[in-house]
Amino acid sequence: MITIITLGTNIGAKSREDGRAFDELRNLKIEAGVLERADGSAYLEFGGNKVLVAVYGPKESFIRRFQRPDRAYIRCRYNMAPFSVDDRKRPGPDRRSIEISKITAEALQPAVILEKYPRSVIEIFIEVLEAEGGTRCAGITAASVALADAGIPMKDMVVACAAGKVDGQVVLDLSEVEDKDGQADVPVAILPRSGEVTLLQSDGNLTTAEFEKALDLAIKGCNQISEVQKEALKKRYGE
């Protein structure tokens, strides 16, 4: 019998002790138009997360059963690189990534003026190159920028951010360690102009008061991130 003992694992060690306030986001960087072949693209770094998004379309939908006579539909694929996490992830979709793909498409849908492109499809490919907690929110935020970069008409740019509970305290934007050790994680996506919520999940235990606080905090975070999204587009296309 062979046992494997691991010494000194501080892989990905990062916590609120690193100095972040309860309502403070990790470092955020967004760049629009980073790929040649895609119609629109964006690269996002959010703490230790590195996410690349490409958008293709609107184009003719070859899958007949998804085709809508009066509007386009959004097909989203969220995928993690095998080297993006501590233990190599086997390539290909799993249950988690299929769920995230679905809710991401649904989170973005309300912003896109789909009626303009009947019988078409807009494809969104989200690649997580490195994951450090909050990748679904990072993916949605980057996907909005990529959609705008592709010139797809939208009512607003969806933005996402999570809040949660760690050590009994409600905090903004959980890191990987906080997500694992924390008591709750609430990812939220909003349309910043109207404040409407397009994605809401919750995983963990919260009282009603705590939930409300988390939701408020997440919306506050979203509004901050929204400014960075706009800056990225201004930087690419000028004022």
Binding site: I5, R37, R77, A81, P82, F83, S84, R88
Partner: protein
């Protein structure tokens, strides 16, 4: 599958071929000139080693993951090297999601052959307990943007990522494997390898074909060569044959061009 949507207009085909027959290329390059190459290493901290390589607009992210696993029964005392590639649908409208297609499998197999046969990684040193536990090094090629010549970019990125890879020190005490993450060491690397790919268009061989050139090539030849000029892998592709003279000519160009590519790996 290779998409049928890629129909190249006859006028494009003719103009590219015509230019090349006059020793000119659409982007103004010489017949034996690479596009601009950039190589960054250590870009993914969760990977054992990583590299982002760009040749022109072609862009590949390579990450390695060393893991402890069981050796193959026929080679019980050497480490395992596995290369896998994903032609992500984000990279091109003709790439579809799903299990690897024949192009993806060819790419990872050729890159794998190049690295394996060059004996670049000293796999003997990756054995922990013969027949039971060895290091398995996974190389994952993540194709982000496809503008031709994936082979050369894949090998360049994979070699850079392997050189960037750190594995923890391992001790075996009474059937216990102790992995010491405090003491990391680089993978045992012997000598580097690079790959040069040629496309036959019209009557000419051009190096580093772009997307448009790849679409119309009649034959393709990829040659892997080590720092000490040993040819360690080759792959011919495309529908047309090549003459012996053309092949030897490509080998000769590879010998000199490989030196140029090796420079990117020095840092």
């Amino acid at each position: 599958m290779v998409n049928k949507m890629n129909i190249v207009p006859e006028i494009t085909r003719k103009s590219i071929t015509h230019l090349i027959n006059n020793e000119e290329r659409v982007d103004g390059r010489a017949m034996d000139e690479y596009r601009e190459i950039s190589l960054e290493t250590g870009v993914i901290s969760k990977a054992g080693g990583s590299a982002r390589v760009k040749i022109g607009n072609t862009q590949i992210m390579v990450g390695t993951k060393p893991q402890i696993g069981e050796p193959f029964p026929d080679t019980p005392d050497v480490g395992v090297l596995m290369t896998n590639s994903e032609l992500l649908p984000m990279a091109s409208p003709s790439f579809e999601p799903g299990p690897p297609d024949e192009r993806s499998v060819e790419l990872s197999r050729v890159a794998d052959r190049c690295i394996r046969e060059s004996q670049m990684v000293d796999l003997d040193k990756l054995c922990i307990i013969p027949g039971k536990k060895v290091w398995m090094v996974f190389i994952d090629l993540h194709i982000l943007d496809y503008d031709g010549n994936l082979m050369d970019a894949a090998v360049l990125g994979a070699v850079a990522a392997l050189k960037n890879t750190m594995i923890p020190e391992v001790k075996v005490v009474d059937n216990e494997i102790i992995i010491d993450h405090e003491n990391m060491k680089p993978l045992p690397i012997r000598e580097e390898v690079v790959m040069c790919t040629f496309a036959k268009i019209g009557e000419q061989l051009v190096i580093d074909p772009s997307f448009d050139e790849e679409e119309i090539l009649s034959a393709r030849l990829s040659i892997g060569i080590t720092a000490s000029d040993k040819i360690c892998a080759m792959q011919k592709g495309g529908d047309s044959p090549l003459t012996k003279e053309e092949i030897m000519n490509a080998v000769k160009i590879t010998e000199s061009k490989s030196k140029e590519l090796m420079k990117y790996l020095e840092c």
